[in-house]
């Protein structure tokens, strides 16, 4: 459950990050984000961050789950920020790739 929470948080932060012109430019080379796309990225981003909370709560119940979530958010955004200046495209592509991998690992582990 915790890898999934980390992956969702990473994807969420990446979406929020790409909704900003500076970072959108870093990744796609265009300084202008279409308004509807920025909005969609923002909504997706917050939704994914919100989704990582239930994953933490499932992993550790409520009291510890919320503490875990704070740790997960910090741990997920750090690699994104460190990766962005060096490999912006990799940083962006990891976002859609990680949650399915984490979910796959989860189902394999549950079996």
């Amino acid at each position: 459950m915790i890898p999934l929470a980390l992956a969702l948080a990473y994807a969420g932060f990446t979406a929020l990050c790409l909704a900003m012109e500076r970072h959108y430019g870093e990744v796609f080379g265009l300084r202008r984000v279409p308004a509807w796309r920025a909005l969609a990225l923002r909504i997706t981003g917050w939704a994914l961050l919100a989704l990582s909370l239930p994953s933490c709560v499932v992993a550790r119940e409520w009291a510890m789950g919320v503490v875990l979530w704070c740790g997960v958010l910090s741990a997920a955004v750090l690699p994104l920020v460190l990766l962005l200046p060096y490999a912006p495209r990799l940083a962006a592509w990891l976002a859609p790739a990680l949650p399915p991998i984490a979910a796959l690992l989860l189902t394999l582990g549950a079996r």
Partner: protein, 519 residues
């Protein structure tokens, strides 16, 4: 203090952070590694690596205590756990000088003594982070408390000062001189902000009975014993009657206590007046299965084994404090949770380090060669603290493996090695150029940490080649974290080495004499 609210906050942020920055760095780093205190302690006692928890551990240990300390006023037994597979006992003994306590490590399977090398283990880092060393305990705790309060001021004023929290949230621009230091400082601060606020505030709370004793003094008229009895449920045991009666079996008491807590495990046992008609047994719940570390205990009659009372976990004020202290200690939630606390702690360490470095870099940028003794002092202290402490901590671990096992005052000498290494590291930047000092200290720290697993392999039988296949993560983790931190220091050393080649300084080249590290 002119120029409005934000500027005055910036001034406050700079000085509240800088003045205590080096102490805070040491507190953050030693505190962060203390999340793995039992693991470090175990790693530092290779003689215990073969010990395993056993089902009848409590019975075995108490049986042994009856021969070890039959006349002691009380025995305190920490039962083996997943993180620490041995039983640790200590007991009151009026013939033992100084502390009047004796201690031993017992084998859970047999109850026999496990002779291990004399060392403070991870406890040294842990106690250092709130009461230093070689400083009277009370003084040290006051110093740490003040520094923590400054830290809280620095964090809050830093939030006000940081104008572009959201716009710059994801922004880190490496190799851009002062700009990179500011980015790094802000990123380390913002990405783990909830942690920094929590750890600083709860840290102050752990020492609150010392810094703010007035409530207790007023309510209990200075009677601290009455206070501990009321809040923590710890009554003073009655005097011995002198009538010898054997202790009731411990197994049923542990089972009853566990049942009382809805299945939670006992972690510690205190036996008062063992072997006497007045004997009582207090069973404490483990504190790593919940947020609060507020003590929960069940007291039994030591002769009949009947339950007398249960306390803890039901008083809101004590429980609030328990949750705060629990959050600070981070013993709950298992290994992944601890790893996340550790990561956030490292980010806090980086935040403090980049903060003090940023001040020096800014001064140099502004004043260049005209910068005075103040700037030079900060630069020297930065190298001494940020470069020197990792060297000292690594040297402590090296001393643990290299000092002869039978050496007299061995534990003290390990600590001496720590301070000698740190002392040399503090003098070294006075003799070298600023950049050379950074490179050499970061490089030496990296080397000591990267070679630690090799040293471990050369001196023990529980090196990575053994611990990894056996899944002994507690031991392997110490080696692996040493490798990771050593790599990080090595990377920093290399960055410092290349710094002057960066062209973006050209426009200010005329002013620069001493380049900044790790750009």
């Amino acid at each position: 203090m002119r120029g409005g609210f934000r500027q005055s906050m910036a001034w406050l942020h700079t000085w509240s952070g800088l003045l205590v920055g080096w102490v805070l760095f040491a507190v953050f780093l030693t505190g962060t590694v203390s999340y793995f205190r039992p693991e470090i302690s175990l790693w530092m006692r290779p003689e215990l690596h073969a010990a395993r928890d056993a089902p009848e551990a409590a019975e075995n240990v108490l049986r042994r205590m009856q021969t070890l300390a039959p006349n002691s006023a009380n025995w305190i037994v920490t039962l083996p756990s997943a993180r620490d597979p041995v039983a640790r006992v200590f007991w009151r003994d009026s013939s033992a000088g100084g502390s009047r306590f004796r201690r031993a490590i017992l084998d859970p399977a047999t109850g026999e003594d496990l002779p291990a090398r004399d060392t403070l283990g991870g406890d040294f880092f842990y106690t250092f982070h709130y009461q230093l060393h070689h400083v009277p305990v009370l003084w040290a705790r006051w110093i740490i408390s003040f520094c923590a309060m400054f830290m809280l001021v620095a964090i809050l004023s830093g939030i006000v000062t940081h104008r572009r929290i959201f716009a710059d949230f994801f922004t880190f621009r490496p190799r851009k001189g002062q700009r990179s230091w500011l980015d790094g400082h802000a990123v380390a601060a913002m990405l783990a902000l909830p942690y920094h606020l929590m750890i600083t505030y709860t840290g102050i709370v752990t020492l609150m009975l010392m810094t703010m004793p007035w409530g207790v003094q007023l309510a209990f008229k200075g009677n601290n014993q009455a206070f501990t009895a009321a809040v923590f449920g710890l009554e003073r045991p009655p005097p011995r009657s002198g009538q010898a009666v054997p202790l009731a079996p411990i197994g049923p008491m542990l089972a009853e206590a566990s049942h009382h807590w809805g299945g939670a495990q006992p972690g510690r046992i205190t036996v008062n007046n063992p072997g006497d008609a007045t004997a009582t047994v207090q069973v404490f719940r483990v504190d790593d299965d919940r947020l609060s570390v507020n003590r929960q205990l069940v007291t039994f009659n030591g002769v009949t084994g009947a339950m007398i009372s249960a306390s803890g976990g039901d008083r809101p004020a004590a429980e609030t404090r328990g949750v705060m202290v629990g959050l600070h200690r981070g013993v709950f939630g298992g290994g992944v949770m601890r790893a996340l606390f550790f990561l956030s702690g490292l980010m806090g360490t980086v935040m403090v380090a980049t903060g003090t470095i940023l001040w020096a870099v800014k001064q140099r940028q502004k004043l260049g060669a005209r910068a005075g003794y103040g700037t030079r002092l900060v630069e020297v202290l930065n190298v001494a603290a940020i470069g020197g402490l990792p060297i000292a901590m690594a040297a402590y671990l090296w001393a643990n493996r290299l000092l002869p096992v039978a050496m007299a005052q061995r534990a003290e000498w390990e600590v001496h090695v720590f301070f000698i290494a740190w002392g040399v590291a503090a003098l070294h930047p006075l003799l070298r150029s600023h950049r050379r000092a950074w490179m050499e200290q970061l490089g030496l720290g990296a080397l000591l940490l990267l070679l630690l697993p090799a040293l471990n392999a050369a001196t023990t039988h529980s090196h990575l080649g053994v611990t990894l296949p056996a899944g002994q993560w507690a031991l392997a983790g110490v080696d692996l974290v040493a490798l990771a931190l050593g790599t990080a220091l090595g990377f920093a050393a290399r960055q410092v080495g290349r710094a002057p080649a960066e062209p973006q300084r050209a426009r200010r080249a005329g002013h620069r004499t001493s380049p900044a590290p790790a750009e």
